[in-house]
């Protein structure tokens, strides 16, 4: 990876912000022995069944129970995403020689590790486990520069979606204070990660697209579109529906995924992501 002057200056600025916001993950959050069953652990509008007849059929305690499992799913899918992210960042940290960028990648790693610690503590303490991952990675061949571009672009896609949840729920007074604090602290760090990620993706995309043909560019855009769909699928987890008492968790998953209300919700949440991908020239079906 080559580093341009803009990315160097951005890394310098983000390093200062990360140093100012540095926190001790073991003391920054106080963990109650048990959660208040009356409290919302996840905002109802963000529950995957919201807006569907399945949601309408639930009474208030069942909605709050489902919201707790949705919170655990959100934290679990973040753990899985961040495991992959940490491995990829660590592998790339010293592939180039810019010391400001290296320093920022260390902050990035540190902050992602703290997030995982909080998500894991919440799930293990209150659910007793994390929800397992259904993604599988297969080794494949990449053109020079392609793997780095896809890695940072996937991180950006994942974090844009996550951050829309965090930004809203981190300010939602209806939420249990613990859940709200986790979302807010996550958002504060992710805002820096997103600024860095978008800048990195722009640089890697310009370099890679200048070397590849229109067909490969189209493949990259289509891949990111498919990755976005796959990322969204994880928000509709049959394990959650099973734990929340649904008799047909897979039928519930399909009904929720296909319902117009949830399609509209996903489109609304992805507005910033879609705008950024379009600005970067990475939106699917965009002319080469």
């Amino acid at each position: 990876m080559n580093v341009n002057r803009d990315l160097h200056a951005l890394s310098q600025k983000l390093n200062r912000a990360s140093e100012r916001g540095f926190n001790n993950p073991y003391t920054s959050i106080q963990w109650p022995e048990a959660l208040d069953p009356q409290a919302w652990q996840f905002a109802p509008e963000f529950v995957s069944l919201h807006g569907t007849p399945l949601w309408d059929a639930l009474d208030e305690p069942a909605r709050r129970r489902l919201a707790f499992h949705e919170a655990c799913n959100f934290f679990s899918l973040n753990i899985h995403g961040e495991q992959e992210l940490i491995a990829g960042l660590a592998r790339r940290a010293y592939q180039q020689g810019d010391r400001e960028l290296i320093a920022y990648l260390h902050h990035f790693l540190d902050e992602e590790n703290k997030h995982m610690l909080w998500f894991g503590e919440y799930c293990m303490r209150y659910l007793g486990r994390i929800y397992p991952d259904r993604k599988l990675a297969f080794p494949r061949e990449f053109a020079a520069g392609e793997e780095d571009l896809l890695f940072f672009a996937k991180v950006m896609v994942f974090e844009f979606i996550v951050d829309a949840y965090n930004l809203s729920m981190g300010r939602d007074e209806r939420l249990d204070p613990l859940a709200r604090q986790i979302h807010w602290q996550h958002h504060v760090d992710e805002a820096r990660h997103l600024a860095f990620g978008a800048s990195m993706v722009a640089k890697l995309k310009d370099t890679f697209f200048s070397q590849c043909d229109a067909q490969k560019q189209c493949e990259i855009r289509d891949y990111l579109h498919a990755y976005t769909e796959a990322t969204w699928r994880e928000y509709y987890n049959p394990d959650v529906y099973k734990d929340a008492g649904f008799e047909d968790p897979y039928g519930t998953m399909d009904a929720a995924w296909q319902h117009p209300a949830t399609r509209a919700f996903r489109a609304r949440i992805a507005e910033r992501l879609d705008a950024t991908l379009a600005e970067l020239g990475l939106a699917a079906a965009e002319p080469a």
Binding site: R134, F138, A226, A230
Partner: protein, 83 residues
């Protein structure tokens, strides 16, 4: 596994990859190696298998070799082609 399971897996692949001609897909077609389906579609395939089995898949069976072909999928998750 029953012929119905094999037919269901085959139908899922053909539905997921509409450009694939049915005659091109045998029980031994290398669906991953030949990139008939992508790694991003595996999660959907896993969910399809789980729905058909009416339960989660044992995570130790979720390895690339289990998803190489219709035959390997049936062996890993439905008791084999002749089971």
């Amino acid at each position: 596994m029953s012929a119905a399971d094999r037919d269901a897996v085959r139908a899922w692949i053909l539905k997921t990859v509409p450009k694939l001609e049915p005659a091109q897909l045998t029980d031994d077609t290398k669906i991953l190696k030949d990139r008939v389906i992508t790694s991003l579609q595996i999660m959907d395939l896993i969910l399809f298998i789980e729905a058909r089995r009416k339960g989660s898949i044992d995570r130790t069976r979720m390895k690339p070799e289990s998803f190489q072909s219709i035959r390997s999928i049936c062996e890993a998750f439905f008791g084999g082609l002749d089971g």
